[in-house]
Symmetry: C2
């Protein structure tokens, strides 16, 4: 095995074990020494891959965002309309965050300035580039949805459509991140201790109204969401970390 | 001074210095030993107040959510319509998170299960109760807005109006949390390095469409947002930590 290949394999192993540790113990008690002891590598080896805990956390997030890309590609390949792809994407994000809050925390931590600003520039940049790629894919789908399924934009020129699509793209992302964060709070858990149905309802009402505000005029939005929910499940099952089976690398 | 009073003062001092430390150094490197050295209290004293870093973090969040309550009460007292109070609340949350991302990180961390589940029950519960109180205040305003400014709900009975108001309340909270988290990401910062105007535009488009989807029919939503923005500033200025002047306890 080449030296470089060996290094990459080792890095992957450290990341996978770190995700598993984070998921068991939370991030506030994460110590590089625990990672060393778990992986049996020396502290020097760990630090030769990751300069800081922040750097390691961004690397973990990167691994998980690559899983989101698998979901995303699976959605893009579905033989359905652009608006259904948008809804399926939102449903995937929701279902993943409700089932794997431990993993989504890692994603959300990597968005925080006190984390990504302290990671190495190269690692932070890799994560940004991956987000740029995903946002670009999504933007294409949104432009198609504006042209075919959203009303009120007939007068817009190409630039204006793209700007609107960019706002919708980032609004969707924000809504996914925010609805799942607040749904995982202690407050939500006190309010509906075993309320998966109620949570789904809350997700549906807010998402369908968000799209309605952007001009989605659909007589039976619930039926569309129900159809997309089945598709979302199939797309999630194609991943390693998010799949229900979770034959994941950590086991 | 009574013993109890002394204890409370000391607890407050530890919390305020911890917020300042978190804001300077981030949370991954937070060590109880740093808090002890900063406050000149022994580790035993620190631990007699906070069982764990998670407990301390929830206590810090509690202090900041009390500041949100000040903002909130100031908004509730404004002589404006319910829908304008809703928009002003969203604008306050947005402006605070854009100016004080370090503080909002603490709020967002406290929503994560790996944090609040590891805090003491009492502290986690205090935070939940405060969120219950704020959500209840907001819900009353939303019910009024549904009755006076949102269209399409004339057929709903009281229970249905309250359920809708609850979804809107939590959707608003989620949208605030999510839009500000994603706007602070490295990706957003790469995309618009000095784009405060562009960020404001992104916030406005997503918020106004969210409310439009809930039935807000307003001919000139931009003018309403502009009016509410000025009001938001005045309400924020009534706090210690979020005010621009920030004569805050940490200085």
């Amino acid at each position: 095995m080449q030296r470089r290949e060996k290094r990459e394999l080792r890095e992957r192993e450290i990341i996978e074990k770190s995700i598993a540790l984070l998921s068991q113990r939370g991030f506030l008690d994460l110590r590089m020494a625990d990672i060393a002891s778990e992986t049996k590598y020396s502290m020097g080896t760990i630090y030769s891959h990751f300069e800081s805990k922040e750097d390691l956390l961004v690397a973990c997030a990167l691994t998980l965002v690559l899983e989101h890309r698998i979901v995303f590609n699976a959605i893009a390949d579905q033989p359905v309309s652009a608006i259904e792809k948008i809804i399926t994407t939102a449903l995937c994000s929701w279902q993943i965050s409700m089932r794997h809050p431990d993993l989504i925390e890692i994603d959300n931590l990597s968005l925080m300035p006190s984390v990504w600003r302290r990671a190495t520039k190269q690692r932070a940049n890799e994560l940004n580039q991956l987000h740029v790629e995903l946002a670009g894919m999504f933007l294409g789908i949104v432009v198609e949805a504006i042209e075919t399924s959203l009303s009120g934009y007939e007068q817009l020129d190409r630039n204006q459509v793209e700007q609107l699509a960019s706002h919708l793209t980032h609004g969707m992302w924000g809504l996914c991140v925010g609805l799942s964060s607040t749904a995982q709070s202690g407050y939500a858990s006190t309010l509906c201790p075993d309320g998966a149905d109620e949570s789904d309802r809350y997700f549906y009402t807010n998402y369908s109204n968000f799209l309605k505000g952007y001009g989605w005029q659909e007589e039976n939005p619930e039926a569309v969401f129900a159809r997309c929910r089945r598709m979302a499940q199939q797309c999630i099952d194609q991943t390693t970390w998010f799949s229900d089976a979770r034959q994941g690398p950590q086991s």
